[in-house]
């Protein structure tokens, strides 16, 4: 398997979370879920041990997209929705960089939807962190493409009309090779997903449920409330039976008609999670378990399959051309084709 970090220089010094903090004042609202994600990322990066100067965060526009300013790495806060495109040019021309994209549900799925799906199918070496708060935060609370139908906001006083995207289903449909979901409040889980994403060859999409306590507070309450949390969270672990519930008494099984069904954990034929399955249909079925009321919501890695990355293929074509015909010679190029000499 290609290691996407093979060409990224390592720091001989031991790093700590502090190394990744900048002197900039963090300007998210107090209590915003973005703080927890920032701390989790800063806490995780020393584990990779990459030289800080070889790590780049690229973002679009939104509250979430302010993220790069707080990371003591190279950073590019770009324009609304376009971060995957900008990061594609960077990642495909610089194999010595670890390139991360930070985006929001509006940024990635509304204005930037086209770039998102195309980077997923291309499999460029990007690690995309999609902060899903199911709302437009920065523009003060309009509904977003992940808001539930009927969402009452300033722009939809009588309730929103359009069906939301399920980012996981969308990514799987877009041929993504790595698709995961995690949640701002569970640092351990978040970091475990980042660990796999960072070393995945190609585009990794990580949806992070993020609480916007100002415009969409408690959007993920059932997943956070200690009373309900364990009953509704379905933790996906590759190779493990999919068992959940506070008493670990529930499991998943494919019903005769196709969709997944929840059955007692001791039923026969309960599903064992297989994120590496080349066939995406189980991962897709798992993504369809979601419901607006979070009865059972899978978190973890849905899909993690091997596929060459766009940037390594692009590099290989160049290497091949040079190996076959030698490096380009400008004098020869300019004088190529039908030429004639005047004396």
């Amino acid at each position: 398997m290609s290691d996407p970090l093979a060409l990224v220089p390592k720091d001989p010094e031991r790093q700590t979370a502090k190394d990744f903090k900048t002197d900039q004042e963090v300007r998210w609202c107090p209590g915003c879920g973005d703080y927890a994600i920032l701390a989790a990322v800063q806490g995780f990066l020393p584990e990779l041990g990459l030289k800080r100067e070889n790590v780049v965060f690229v973002s679009g526009i939104g509250c979430s997209s302010r993220f790069p300013y707080y990371m003591n790495t190279y950073g590019f806060h770009s324009i609304h929705g376009r971060a995957p495109a900008i990061a594609t040019g960077l990642a495909s021309s610089r194999p010595d960089l670890s390139v991360w994209v930070v985006t929001g549900d509006g940024d990635a799925l509304s204005i930037g939807g086209n770039h998102l799906i195309h980077s997923l199918r291309r499999n460029v070496n990007l690690k995309i962190l999609l902060f899903n708060n199911r709302i437009y935060g920065l523009t003060k609370g309009q509904y977003s493409p992940t808001s539930e139908v009927g969402k009452i906001t300033k722009s939809t006083p009588l309730g929103s009309l359009d069906s939301p995207f399920n980012p996981i289903s969308l990514a799987i449909g877009a041929e993504a090779s790595f698709v995961a979901r995690t949640i701002d409040s569970d640092r351990k889980h978040l970091q475990s997903v980042l660990r796999e994403a960072a070393t995945h060859n190609g585009t990794a999409l990580v949806e992070i449920y993020q609480n916007c306590n100002i415009f969409n507070d408690d959007a993920f309450a059932p997943l956070k409330d200690p009373q309900t949390r364990d009953d509704v969270t379905v933790r996906l672990e590759h190779g493990e039976p999919i068992v959940f519930g506070a008493d670990r008494d529930k499991a998943l099984r494919r019903s005769a008609s196709g969709p997944l069904e929840v059955v007692p954990a001791d039923s026969p034929d309960i599903l064992v999670h297989d994120a590496r399955n080349p066939d995406p249909s189980l991962a897709f079925a798992l993504s369809r378990l979601d419901s607006p009321t979070f009865e059972h919501t899978p978190i973890g890695i849905f899909r993690q399959v091997e596929r060459p990355s766009y940037d390594e293929l692009m590099r290989a074509q160049i290497d091949e051309a040079i190996a076959q015909h030698g490096a380009g010679d400008l004098t020869a190029l300019l004088g190529s084709g039908d030429t004639w000499r005047i004396d």
Binding site: Q24, E53, Y69, Y74, S78, R82, G335
Partner: protein, 612 residues
């Protein structure tokens, strides 16, 4: 039979037929033969946007005009001396451009009742005397080709399709063109289909032999090679010259070339050409849309590449926000707009110069961007390097305005010595700098440091949000914003010190009228000026390569003449700026027909101004 050979100093030929008749290929081959022979030349392909418009109709006509001479020429010519028309539609669409006495070579096989009716000919023009003022050569080109290829094991359709090679052979005989290169070309083109290859070569030779033996042509013509400066030459189109110029800029700067592009006529050939040159480390990225194309190019620039994006007008509209970001983050980027007739989809295969205001002003906020424009197909090479030079030196996006005429037109180009090309110094910020400030400017150029990821100690964040002068930290301070807006403007304005002053061609020094152009109208304007001078008139000429900033002496030049004529293929966009900036009452000449100006048309306009 010995035939008479007559000397000519120049000829204009137009090949016209159905889109499926291979007229572009025929024209292209004739051009290569002519270039190899050593004439000066200039070409004008003209084709429909549809890939296969309905056969035999006026909208389906495709043509290729070539002007060649024993002296230096500037345009594809106003009016053809020779029209090759492969069908009635081609005749009807083009006959209006012919001067009295022109030669008309007609493929009579196609002049059937049905074909005539399709384009509205009530009577057959071959018979009704309506072509009386031309020298008509009625030839059954299709059936002669089929007959010549009788012995080949190919379908009738394939035999008929070779009629363009028959025509090419005939014209090659008529003008004494060398033929080896065309034979070699056909050998390569049809290498995988040997029978078709042999048939096409046979058709080409049959056309030549026909000229030699037929009584329809009693005279053949010689146009002596032009006396061009000594050196190595090749024929080059504008798009090819842009691609070569970009590679040259990459080599001369040591920056890897990254092209982000989305296919669009008439710019796609730059993408196609650059895709072939991976040996130069060129990365070409066909994006999902123009926004991603320019985004990826900018991302590559952020990483230390020479980021380039190529498109046409509608694509520039989509790229505007990212060009604004490049402007605000002060990163190098080359944006090539091969202008076509707009607005909206407009006429994709036709030329225009109407994106000047879009290039200069089509962004939100105060967002000055340098704009350069090549004047001839081969000039595209030098201007591509100039665009890259400015982009890299001043850390700014640069707009390059080519057009459909330059893109597809071609002319001989003296291949430059690599050592004579400008060197471009990226001057990256280097590790080890204490207290690095990403927006601390070079006092002379006002350019900011280009610190690329991977450089230790220079980690920093940039973005479209307003930045504090020096540190680059987010700043909403009113005075800082005012300062930054002015600094960015001053940086671009300052480029005027680093470009050549405008040169004025005013041989007598007594002209009272100046003709000022920009971009692809150079050839037509220069040819018009020569005509006026040849007839004893006095006029000065200047042509702008830099549209932003203008050369420092432009104002002075404008004020040195009583009258300034500005011909543009738009409704007066440069004129608007000149009036606004310099309070000069310039006289515009504006036509937007999707076609280049004709020299005679401009000569008339200029003459009127001189005499008024």
């Amino acid at each position: 039979m010995t035939k008479q050979v007559r000397q000519l100093d120049r000829v204009i030929i137009r090949f016209a037929g159905d889109s499926g008749d291979g007229m572009q290929l025929t024209g292209d081959r004739f051009t290569q033969e002519t270039a190899a022979f050593g004439n000066d030349l200039s070409t004008l392909p003209n084709f429909p946007a549809e890939i296969r418009a309905p056969a035999g109709t006026l909208p389906g006509v495709s043509s290729f005009q070539l002007h060649f001479a024993d002296h230096d020429i500037l345009t594809p010519g106003d009016a053809p001396n020779v029209l090759v028309a492969m069908n009635p539609a081609a005749l009807k669409a083009n006959v209006g451009d012919l001067p009295r006495g022109a030669d008309l070579i007609l493929n009579t096989d196609e002049f059937t009742k049905r074909a005539l009716a399709k384009v509205g000919y009530a009577a057959n023009p071959l018979e009704d005397g309506s072509l009386g003022e031309y020298r008509v050569h009625s030839l059954p080109l299709t059936s002669m080709t089929v007959k010549a290829l009788e012995d080949f094991d190919i379908s009738k359709k394939d035999a008929e399709r070779a009629k363009n090679m028959f025509a090419l052979g005939l014209l090659s005989w008529l003008y004494h063109r060398p033929t080896d290169a065309t034979v070699r070309f056909l050998e390569v083109k049809f290498a995988k289909k040997p029978e078709i290859m042999k048939a096409n070569i046979a058709a080409f030779q049959a056309g030549w032999n026909y000229g030699e033996t037929t009584e329809s042509f009693s005279v053949s013509y010689e146009v002596k090679p032009a006396t061009l400066p000594p050196g190595l030459y090749r024929n080059i189109s504008g798009n090819m010259a842009l691609a070569f110029g970009l590679i040259a800029a990459s080599v001369r700067s040591g920056l890897p070339l990254f092209l982000g592009s989305y296919p669009i006529t008439p710019a796609s050939d730059i993408l196609h050409e650059l895709s072939k040159h991976k040996r130069f480390g060129v990365r070409t990225f066909q994006a999902e849309d123009e926004i991603a194309a320019v985004g990826a190019a900018l991302g590559a620039s952020f990483g230390g590449a020479l980021g380039v994006t190529t498109t046409s007008g509608p694509g520039v509209s989509l790229k505007s926000e990212t060009v604004g970001l490049a402007m605000a983050t002060e990163l190098p980027l080359v944006v090539i707009d091969v202008q076509r007739a707009g607005p909206s989809t407009g006429m994709p295969t036709k030329t225009e110069q109407a994106d000047l205001l879009q290039a200069l002003y089509g962004r939100n906020g105060e967002s000055p961007v340098p704009v350069v424009a090549p004047s001839t197909p081969s000039d595209c090479f030098a201007v591509a390097i100039e665009a890259a030079r400015i982009a890299v030196k001043y850390r700014t996006p640069v707009m390059l305005l080519s057009d459909g005429y330059l893109a597809n037109g071609s002319e001989p180009w003296q291949v430059p010595e690599v050592d004579s090309l400008p060197e471009i110094e990226p001057a990256f910020a280097e590790a080890g700098e204490e207290d690095f400030q990403p927006f601390k400017r070079d006092p002379e150029t006002l350019a900011r440091p280009w610190a690329v990821p991977g450089t230790p100690g220079l980690e920093h964040r940039i973005g479209g949000i307003e930045k504090a002068d020096g540190s680059g930290n987010i700043s909403y301070d009113p005075n800082n914003h005012d300062l930054m807006v002015r600094l960015r403007q001053a940086k671009i304005d300052g480029i005027a010190r680093d470009i050549a002053p405008l040169t004025v061609d005013d041989p007598s020094g007594e002209a009272r009228v100046l003709v000022l152009g920009w971009g692809g109208t150079y050839g037509a304007i220069t040819a018009a000026v020569r005509r006026i001078r040849a007839a004893g008139g006095t006029v000065a000429q200047a042509h702008l390569r830099h549209l932003n900033p203008f050369p420092a002496n432009l104002e002075e030049v404008l004020h040195s003449y009583d009258k300034v004529v500005v011909p543009e293929i738009n409704l007066g966009q440069l004129a608007l700026i000149l009036r606004g900036r310099f309070l000069v009452d310039v006289i515009g000449y504006n036509r937007v027909r999707g076609l280049p100006f004709k020299a005679e048309e401009l000569a008339d306009v200029i003459r009127d101004v001189i005499n008024s």
